[in-house]
Symmetry: C2
Subunit: 340 residues, 2 copies
DNA sequence: TCGGGGGATGGGAGCGCTCCCAGCTCCTGC
DNA sequence: GCAGGAGCTGGGAGCGCTCCCATCCCCCGA
């Protein structure tokens, strides 16, 4: 039915040339008010939209940015982290009139087939890439292809010029201080895997927060793998050394830790206080309500997307590494009055 | 630095013409083994990738499919539903070599600006669209533009030729039967909003499941809005009529309902049994562990994407409405032995 | 021996846009 | 009064690909 309208046709209907229509569509100056009005009228009537492929072929810009989420996507999708991140990114792209292409891969085979497609086919103007673990090969690919990119998370080396991260370290310090302020003395730590910068920052932040006041964990540490089950096992081990408060470096692991406490016949926060990290669980989902360090995931996504746009259109100055503040949200599991 | 390679250039390096290279790249027949080998060698060496925009301009196909999630995206992202759905869709698109463009909008203003862009700019070959509420205008837009589309969920009228849904009704019937089998007699229902087909199906399924055996809910019904808080308030109301078992039509609302039971000083499942719907929460997240009707969200996404591809390449026969089975997962909250 | 058919190949045309230059008009300043 | 510039407009060229037709060659059968 509706054969495609094009610039030439719109021009014919408005009594101007293809070029003038193009100028109107792209909001360029140097078009007479009269011509502009007529063209806009015709566009309105016909519902004309410029053809994305033609535009990007001619201009070498696509108006599409990619969001690359590599490795272990399926486990990570069990918590709302990526949902929030995507929401933040789309918030930014929607308001800037660009489109988001989503590249998820779990298996390395997918990675090998997708990355070249992303990078060399000219399909996107740039990408936001999540850095899940150290030594990720994706970044190297992007760099070699001169593709603009922004890393979500703290890059583990100097290869990334632009990044946006939450203040994992500061949040963990705040958690440590809070527990110390509550008067807990036998502090424990369920640490995240040390193959991620987020994990390292949360662990070091907590330990540094304690040593600021001359405390330590005295061996009361277990490492989890972000999963709920690993949190449960870690807490079960940890209970042997009778901690009175434990910082669990992610909410998912904290949920498992709470279960372990319950299973041991103990009570949180009376026997063991718990502070989590992420602040992504709906408030009431755990019993007791979990005190947690809230990281602004959606805002990280939004800032990353905006920074990427700046990089693409050349308005980004030098290297830029944004760190957004985290905040301790006190609820019940830490035993503080605020949540009682 | 690396100026773009094109077909002509690859052809020159391999000693053949642009056309022959194109045939090799697209896997067409009628290319000599020798020519094919040489071209593939050059492509391998140079890392050449066809330019997506040029290809789609010439062929009128983009290799991109859209996933449109309209309305209330931000609240819905609090649970893992959309994460799982996206995962299913990307699983399918990855394996089929297409790219996923994600269109999320919360505000109507976004909707009005994005839909025309999706539909008329030739940016995607087709879309998977989630039907969150009845009378959604998005579907009408797609239909008028002759854009291939597949609906996730049960469309509420005849305008959609293709859809993929979970068996909400069957799952709710199974929940009803299970509770009846357990010997509960004062059954209650926390229903979803009736402006969605999923909500209607879950409510009607439960009621029909009861009336099959001559039971009813005798007024023990409250309507929630999918949120945790609405589940809590609904259960609080419902407890006045002293139900011994309640079907809560979503896990998020069930979490709120469990909290209301606890807050009333009652115990689940001893005083009130609960069955949820969705099966998306990590197993241990609730106390007690929630018995729930599991819907195969990722598989719904995957089937929708595959069906869309069939529609796009014309291999889909007539209208097709896929309904995937749901399954009752018995854990603790229903009081059945399996979970104890 | 020669004609015909099919596989292999090359190149023209054109997809709808942007970029750029040329040309026209009108206005300003000396 | 005239040169020069600024504002506006039109159209050629070309982005890298696909589609299609023309050509060539080789092999087969009469």
């Amino acid at each position: 039915m509706s054969q495609r309208l094009n610039l030439e046709e719109i021009g014919r209907l408005a009594g101007v040339s293809r070029s003038t229509v193009s100028r109107v569509v792209n909001g360029e100056p140097n078009v007479s008010a009269e011509a502009k009005r007529r063209v806009e009228e015709v566009i309105q009537e016909t519902g004309y939209r410029p053809h994305a492929a033609a535009r990007s072929l001619a201009s070498n810009r696509t108006g599409v940015v990619g969001l690359v989420i590599a490795s272990a996507a399926s486990t990570l999708f069990d918590d709302p982290y990526f949902g929030r991140l995507i929401l933040g990114v789309t918030g930014a792209t929607n308001s800037m009139g660009t489109t988001l292409a989503l590249f998820l891969f779990d298996q390395e085979s997918d990675e090998h087939s997708i990355i070249p497609r992303v990078v060399n086919s000219g399909m996107v103007d740039g990408v936001v890439v999540t850095a899940t673990h150290t030594g990720d090969p994706v970044i190297e690919h992007l760099r070699r292809a001169d593709m603009p990119f922004v890393v979500v998370g703290r890059p583990d080396d100097g290869r990334a010029r632009y990044s946006v991260d939450a203040d994992n370290r500061g949040g963990a310090v705040a958690a440590a201080r809070h527990l110390v302020d509550q008067g807990y003395e036998r502090l424990g730590l369920i640490a995240p895997p040390s193959n991620s910068t987020a994990g390292i920052d949360r662990r070091d932040g907590f330990l540094d927060g304690l040593s600021e006041v001359g405390l330590g964990i005295d061996g009361r540490m277990q490492e989890g793998d972000w999963s709920e089950e690993s949190g449960r096992l870690a807490m079960r081990e940890l209970l042997a050394s009778e901690p009175d408060a434990v910082f669990v470096a992610s909410d998912r692991m904290a949920v498992g830790a709470l279960r372990a406490i319950r299973e041991a016949g103990l009570s949180c926060p009376d026997d063991v206080a718990v502070v989590g990290f992420d602040g992504l669980l709906p408030a009431d989902q755990t019993v007791p309500r979990l005190t947690s360090v809230v990281q602004p995931v959606a805002e990280v996504g939004e800032r990353a997307a905006r920074l990427l746009h700046a990089v693409i259109d050349g308005s980004a100055a030098g290297p830029e590494h944004v760190v957004l503040p985290t905040e301790l949200l006190v609820r019940e599991s830490c035993g503080a009055e605020a949540g009682r």
